[in-house]
């Protein structure tokens, strides 16, 4: 394991060809091995695309793999903060890992910019002046899905999510906006791969639609089994089960499904067009929303570094708060709790040639802030 880690560091270091006296040190802890690695790889690749394009020799990025384990994330974070003296940290994908790392890091005067996880606990009472979320608060995409369900006239949803912090945030978010009845509500095991029992309950429930939050491999399993079960109720989900990394594995079973996202490759602005083209040219695949979040996070950091030195914490924080960068999402600004206020779109899964991807069909929520912002006193 040690060897793997030092290899990871070595590659990170060598790809950067960093200057010996880098002025700003960024520590990225993300998931690069095991089942959730696709998400971490996308965040890293998006992030490094922006850093390398900037071509600055005063920024050093140290990348380490948390293996999706909270305990190793905490260890890496301690080492990065205490011996490597990083100024900024980023990268964590999973909310349970973020909860283990972020409060300790921000308390030690390190900036943390989340490219993905947005647990509700860190958006409300436990918000922190050094914590920024560049992706979304966990509830956001689910709130948009609830709003979409109302617009689509769905009145009796069956909802399910894994039994962990982000799963609870998901169903809470959906129910916050959704106005109809619930035909059923299930928490599944985190990492569960067989959904036969849940699908049987959906079939027996008399629901008119299904809402599910099952990120990564869980979503692939659910969709394939759902398509094979003969239950043909409409399905709605957040983008996490329909991102570019997993759509090819789901195949035609996902076609036509509506899902909600703050980003898609067809958002029409110059930054996004360039991002999609550059990402494809460099990595040979289409970017996912995770890659877009990594890219935005890096560009936000770079924009703040242009204005202020990271050692001058108050000035750097103000520069981050200004969010003066060209987001691939278009307009981007922070709310008072350092979480995004942004549009969330409704997408539909389509097929382009032999590639499955998404297209935006509507705007679900406009300039949407999260529900916890009012509890945050910074």
């Amino acid at each position: 394991m040690k060897i793997l880690k030092s290899l990871a560091v070595a590659t990170a270091v060598s790809t950067l060809a960093l200057a010996a006296q880098a002025e700003t040190k960024i520590g990225m802890i993300t998931t690069l091995s095991g089942g959730g690695a696709g998400l971490g790889v996308d965040v890293r690749d998006g992030f490094m695309l922006a850093i390398e394009a900037a071509g600055r020799d005063d920024v050093e990025v140290v990348i380490e793999d948390d293996q999706r384990k909270p305990e190793s994330a905490v260890q890496i974070a301690d080492r990065m903060i205490q011996s490597e003296k990083v100024d900024i940290m980023t990268g964590i994908i999973w909310s349970n890992l973020a909860m283990a790392v972020v409060p300790a890091a921000t308390a030690q005067d390190v900036f943390y910019l989340s490219p993905n996880a947005g647990p509700s606990a860190l958006a409300g009472k436990r918000c922190h002046k050094n914590y920024f979320n560049v992706a979304w608060q966990n509830d956001n995409l689910h709130e948009a899905a609830g709003a979409y369900a109302n617009d689509a006239g769905l009145k009796n949803s069956f909802i399910l999510a894994p039994n962990y912090p982000a799963g609870k945030d998901a169903l809470t978010g959906y129910k916050r906006m959704y106005g109809g009845e619930l035909a059923g509500e299930i928490y599944t095991k985190l990492g569960q791969t067989d959904y036969a029992a849940e699908i049987a309950q959906i079939r027996a429930s008399g629901a008119d639609s299904v809402y599910f939050f099952l990120p990564g491999g869980m979503g692939i399993s659910f969709l394939k089994q759902y398509a094979d079960s003969g239950v043909d109720l409409p399905v709605v989900g957040p983008a996490f089960s329909f991102d570019q990394g997993i759509l090819q594995a789901v195949g035609a079973a996902a076609l036509g499904i509506k899902n909600t996202s703050q980003w898609n490759k067809d958002i029409d602005n110059a930054a996004n067009v360039a991002f999609v083209a550059d990402f494809q040219a460099k990595y040979g695949r289409l970017p996912s929303l995770y890659a877009s979040q990594g890219f935005d996070t890096a560009n936000l950091i770079l924009s703040a570094l242009d204005k202020a030195d990271v050692k001058d914490q108050d000035a750097f924080r103000a520069a981050l708060e200004a969010a003066d960068f060209d987001s691939v999402r278009g307009d981007f600004k922070f709310g008072n709790n350092h979480h995004p206020v942004q549009n969330i779109y409704v997408r539909e899964v389509i097929q382009e040639g032999d590639v499955f991807t998404n297209k935006i069909i509507a705007t679900g929520l406009t300039d949407h802030a999260d529900a916890y912002a009012s509890e945050c006193n910074m």
């Binding site: 089942g35 067989d194 692939i220 399993s221 394939k224 094979d228 003969g230």
Partner: protein, 306 residues
């Protein structure tokens, strides 16, 4: 709750149990015959699934994909036995756990290196897709029925192999007394490689069968591995019959517990809390079952007195 739903859930539990049996059979054989704790068994499951996905991608044939999964996992198993595992038989269990854990990491990162970090596509073939209507009006996916049938057939074949063939005699003898059958002139190292490859092939088949309805990705084997260990501990280490009974018990307990516990709690409390508490308790249920079995029969249901 209707009878149809209950029956459908029992079928789901059976199907899950049969899949666990394919995993646990190899694990229990290897432990019973060679006294080896093989944590890398889940990696062989993953190898089977990836081989199936790759071959299905090239040829479009699901049958060829299944054959490829058997062959690839058996070959990987034999290779690992000859190069690594063979050196571990005389070592204590801690060394075995360490070495086979290292194998998990090597297999995972090797697979990522070959196939990338993103899940692969493997789908149910057309002739097995979609639901069928069973007597009583139960709609059930044909593919899951096929898994039950294939699993039971493999189980029957395994019983025949162990109980009725010369190899089976040698395996049972090896389980009882290793030194003695070596002294009787049986090529013990060849037998070990064969048993290990057989166990690996079964794991690979399970990976391919399940891969078609789940996601084929790096690390897919480890959650199943834990359940397979629970199965062989409940069934009694080394016993194929124990593995079958244990697998069906775990499959049914896990599936039915996950469905009925939240409903039971819903009678007592508000739905959201009941769903959350019921789901938490349901995921503990098989471990509670294991503890209960061990309390009554410390060596498992069909375990020897060793």
């Amino acid at each position: 709750m209707s009878l149809i739903l209950i029956l459908e859930q029992v079928l789901n539990g059976l199907q899950f149990g049969v899949m666990l049996f394919l995993m646990a059979a190899g694990l229990t054989l290897v432990f019973g015959v060679m006294g080896l704790i093989n944590l890398a068994h889940g990696a062989l499951y993953m190898v089977g699934a990836f081989a199936a996905a790759a071959v299905a991608g090239w040829t479009g044939s699901f049958v060829l994909a299944l054959i490829a999964s058997l062959a690839a996992a058996a070959a990987a198993g034999a290779l690992v036995e000859v190069t690594v595992i063979r050196r571990l038989y005389d070592r204590d269990h801690l060394d075995q756990v360490l070495a086979t854990f290292a194998l998990i990491l090597i297999f995972s990162e090797g697979t990522r290196w070959l196939f990338g970090s993103f899940p692969l596509f493997l789908d149910v073939p057309d002739y097995l897709s979609g639901p069928v209507t069973l007597p009583g009006g139960i709609q059930y996916p044909l593919y899951r029925l096929a898994i039950i049938v294939i699993g039971l057939m493999v189980g029957a074949g395994l019983f025949w192999l162990i109980a009725r063939t010369r190899i089976g005699v040698q395996i049972r003898a090896g389980e009882a007394d290793r030194e003695m059958i070596a002294a009787l002139g049986v090529d013990i190292s060849k037998l070990y490689t064969l048993v290990f490859a057989l166990g690996a092939a079964l794991a690979g088949l399970a990976g391919a069968l399940v891969g078609a309805i789940q996601s084929v990705q790096v690390g897919m084997g480890e959650p199943v591995l834990i359940l397979a260990f629970v199965v062989i501990v409940i069934g009694g280490i080394g016993s194929i019959k124990g593995a079958l009974v244990g697998a069906l018990l775990v499959g049914l307990t896990d599936t039915l517990g996950g469905v009925f516990l939240p409903r039971l709690f819903a009678l007592l409390m508000e739905p959201a809390a009941a769903a959350s508490l019921g789901a938490s308790l349901a995921s503990m249920l098989i471990y509670i079952l294991m503890a209960a079995v061990l309390l009554v029969r410390p060596s498992g249901l069909f375990g020897g007195s060793a």
